[in-house]
């Protein structure tokens, strides 16, 4: 649900008629949506729905077949560098160089993003993610949960205006997952951070997201607040909505 007084000027991501076609396969088919400033938008759908393709296109890793992506008012195709310096990304499926220490990894990315006072920023993030004692620990010796925290710290180095998070809590224990969710929500309230969030944890999606987009076979089949989606599909919770959609996909 968006805060009151949202106007068109608050749109930070604008996707119009986005299509990605690989030969005969249409991974994303004429999808349009907006993300508003300070919003946490969830991207849901069964495997093969087009979520990863969508995120890759929004990050400029994949060139769309047709359609338009505007981020922070700029056309992604023409202003990739300017946009990427103001957004960031973290995924449970992407790691960091394992032969570098925690501090070395964060230093490299702080330089890549041109952070003005990298040491202060890194120390703040290490405290935030409870990693102060791991400064000189080799990334390869961290647990998967610790690597996820390191990736999240990396994703916040440049104080992004938009954060793309692909299953950010998948390898965290319940305590750290809860802390991470609280941290992200806190960041959103303090800084107006916008987040695009994917997860297969339906309770998490209900808790975190203001709005959810449901993708299936590359189509946007439903969009709304979690409550609106429950009403639309006549279900008690998002998990039931997800199962209904996924099984309809299998049946077809």
């Amino acid at each position: 649900m968006r805060s009151k007084g949202v106007t068109m000027a608050d749109i930070v991501v604008e996707v119009k008629e986005l299509t990605k076609r690989y030969d005969k396969l249409i991974a994303v088919d004429r999808v349009s949506f907006e993300i508003y400033q300070g919003e946490i938008l969830g991207l849901l759908g069964p495997n093969g729905a087009g979520k990863t393709t969508m995120i890759q296109m929004l990050l400029g890793l994949l060139i769309p077949t047709t359609g338009e992506i505007k981020i922070l008012g700029m056309d992604l195709a023409r202003h990739r560098e300017a946009i990427l310096s103001q957004v960031n990304f973290s995924s449970a499926y992407v790691a960091m160089p394992y032969s570098l220490t925690v501090i070395e990894n964060l230093t490299v990315f702080a330089r890549l993003y041109g952070i003005k006072e990298p040491k202060i920023k890194i120390e703040t993030l290490l405290r935030t993610f409870e990693m102060e004692t791991m400064r000189t620990t080799l990334t390869g010796t961290l647990s998967s949960g610790q690597v996820t925290r390191l990736c999240l710290a990396k994703a916040l180095l440049n104080d992004p205006k938009i954060l793309f998070l692909d299953e950010p809590t998948v390898s965290l224990d319940p305590d750290m997952a809860d802390k991470t969710r609280s941290l992200l929500k806190g960041l959103r309230s303090r800084t107006g951070l916008t987040i695009l969030y994917t997860s297969h944890n339906m309770r998490e999606m209900e808790e975190m997201c203001d709005r959810i987009l449901f993708l299936n076979k590359g189509h946007l089949i439903a969009a709304g607040t979690p409550q609106e989606l429950l009403k639309q599909f006549g279900k008690e919770n998002l998990e039931e909505v997800f199962l209904k959609i996924a099984r309809e996909k299998e049946a077809s």
Binding site: Q56, Y113, C151
Partner: protein, 263 residues
């Protein structure tokens, strides 16, 4: 000991060869290259029947200079592979980093690597074999520069192929430079090669460097013509390699292969 378990492991490895051209190539590639290089060296030595002048200088000089080319190429392709192995490629390319900036950074690393390696080999050659590479004189500078440029061109092409075809092309990072070794006349003059290979050899920048090196050792003066050819060819190849890299990078972004490079 159970035969079925031994065969299961053998089968697991044979499955790899069924679908991997690079693994199949590896079986034949190195023996073939060794045969070519050592075969031509033997022919060369046979021609002189043990009376080859400056024998040590020819071989050790060639070995040290070849290593410069190899390290230069490795600096680029192995640096790229490091990102693939650590699943860090996406982190880099969702940052404002430009592909060209990435390439330049790997070129810097290659210079660091080859200087470090050269320092060790030069000192060891001097201590162990009393061979001083600096006897080549000022010509050493353009020779080394040309080998670095050629190494960069091969490194960029290798990186491009890994970017396009993923880890199955990884083997090229160690093998592609050596494809040029028999034809580059590293350890023997071009005249030793068969005529058709001689024609190919003159289009390889390293050939001009090694021919030039032998000419300097024989005290035949600075080989200006060879240096001009080497710089000219390197300029063309380096430019072509960079253009190929950008072209393939666009294809990779169209096909969504960046996420799958590590597979």
């Amino acid at each position: 000991m159970k035969l079925h378990r031994i065969l299961a492991i053998a089968l697991r490895h044979l499955y790899l060869y069924k679908r991997s051209l690079s693994r199949l190539m590896e079986i034949f590639y190195w023996p073939l290259l060794d045969l070519l290089v050592w075969g031509f060296i033997t022919i060369y030595l046979e021609q002189f029947r043990g009376t080859l002048p400056n024998f040590v200088a020819f071989f050790l000089g060639a070995l040290i200079l070849w290593d410069i080319l190899y390290r230069s190429q490795q600096g680029i392709s192995v640096s790229f592979l490091e990102e693939v192995w650590s699943r860090n490629l996406l982190n880099l390319f969702v940052s404002p980093l430009r592909p060209g900036e990435f390439l330049i950074a790997t070129m810097l690393i290659s210079v660091f690597k080859l200087l470090s390696a050269a320092l060790v080999t030069v000192v060891l050659a001097w201590l162990m074999y009393s061979f001083n590479i600096f006897l080549i004189g000022v010509a050493l500078i353009p020779f080394v520069l040309n080998l670095i440029l050629m190494g960069w061109a091969i490194g960029i092409v290798t990186t491009t192929l890994i970017l396009r075809y993923g880890q199955k092309a990884e083997i090229l990072a160690w093998g592609l430079a050596f494809l040029f070794q028999p034809v580059s006349a590293v350890f023997y003059p071009v005249s030793v090669l068969p005529i058709f290979l001689q024609k190919i050899a003159w289009f390889i920048p390293a050939t001009h460097v090694f021919e030039g090196m032998r000419s300097v050792i024989r005290k035949q003066g600075l080989p200006i013509e060879h240096l001009v050819w080497a710089f000219g060819l390197n300029t063309v190849y380096l430019l072509a390699a960079v253009l190929l890299f950008y072209h393939i990078f666009t294809i990779v972004r169209q096909k969504g292969l960046l996420l799958r490079v590590g597979e």
